[in-house]
């Protein structure tokens, strides 16, 4: 699977995802389901990212308050204590510029729109697919090139 034109020092392999140099990228998976956390964690690790997980919006915020930073945040919508929309709003208010991607089983356009308006860069329906991640990494690498 080709990731596209990422300017890196190593040559791109046309066959293996793991050869793509993404290991300077970090991600945070925020979801209250242990199953989804495990799944998304593995998906991202396969692409070489360093991944951390958080159980709900509040834990995610706390991580940032303690000085952690991530290139990518995968944010579930429905979570106890603090949901994805509230956490996203809070993070943006705190000045977080990471790419925040909503991952939700919400199928109403109205609900997705509301979630996007909280400050998401993108929103995908669960389950996350390899294509989704490919796309996100392309976007992330594009942003890195522009800096």
């Amino acid at each position: 699977m080709m990731l596209g034109n990422c300017a890196t020092s190593s040559s791109l392999s046309t066959t293996s995802d793991e050869d793509i140099v993404n290991n300077n990228l970090t991600a945070l998976v925020v979801d209250d389901s242990p199953m989804i956390r495990k799944l998304h964690d593995m998906h991202l690790k396969k692409f070489g990212l360093k991944v951390q997980v958080a159980e709900n919006g509040k834990n995610a915020i706390d991580l940032f308050r303690c000085g952690a930073s991530f290139n990518l945040i995968l944010m579930d919508k429905e979570m106890p204590i603090m949901d994805g929309a509230e956490a996203t709003r809070e993070l943006r208010t705190m000045g977080v510029t990471s790419m925040i991607v909503g991952v939700t089983s919400l199928d109403s356009i109205f609900d997705r729109q509301a979630f996007m308006e909280a400050g998401l860069d993108h929103c995908f329906t669960k389950p996350l697919t390899t294509e989704n991640i490919n796309f996100l990494l392309q976007e992330l690498n594009k942003n890195n090139e522009e800096n």
């Binding site: 199953m35 495990k38 429905e78 089983s105 669960k126």
Partner: protein, 149 residues
């Protein structure tokens, strides 16, 4: 049964699960994530799915037994079940969840109860089938073989 026969049986069984709609493409993606560094990944994720589902089914049963049913709560549980079943590719469970949510929206008690029964049934079917498949895989590995893709 010898190794080759076991492997053939596994491939046939797995193919039938896709044909009968028990599993979909998402399960394939799950398998593709497994590697030598994480040889039990699929079984681990599916076990989490079983735990999650059983908890949700219990919550649903309780919620629908109430005198005055909180349909928002019921919907929230079904929504979760829909999300997790679609994430591992348990297509038939996911389909019932879609119908279930419609009944929740209509606040149709009978419809909800019927769907609860259906989703329990579909869940127990896919659980049994996945467990059988894992057992076959284990037999192959114990016989020194590898799992055919």
């Amino acid at each position: 049964m010898d190794l080759v026969q076991l492997q053939r049986q596994l491939v046939e069984y797995r193919t039938s699960l896709y044909h009968e709609g028990f599993l979909d493409e998402q399960y394939t993606q799950l398998q593709e994530l497994q590697d030598e560094n994480n040889p039990d990944f699929v079984v681990e994720v599916v076990s989490l799915f079983f735990e999650d589902s059983e908890r949700l089914l219990n919550e649903l049963t309780k919620a629908l037994e109430q005198q005055s049913i909180d349909f928002k709560r019921v919907d929230a549980h079904v929504h979760q079940l829909k999300g997790s079943s679609s994430s591992i590719g348990a297509q038939r469970v996911q389909k019932v969840c879609i119908a279930f949510r419609n009944y929740c929206e209509e606040q149709n008690v009978e419809g909800c109860l019927k769907c609860l029964q259906q989703v329990r049934h579909e869940y127990s079917l896919v659980k049994t089938k996945l467990e059988s498949m894992f057992q076959l895989e284990q037999q192959i590995l114990s016989a020194g073989g590898s799992i055919p893709m």
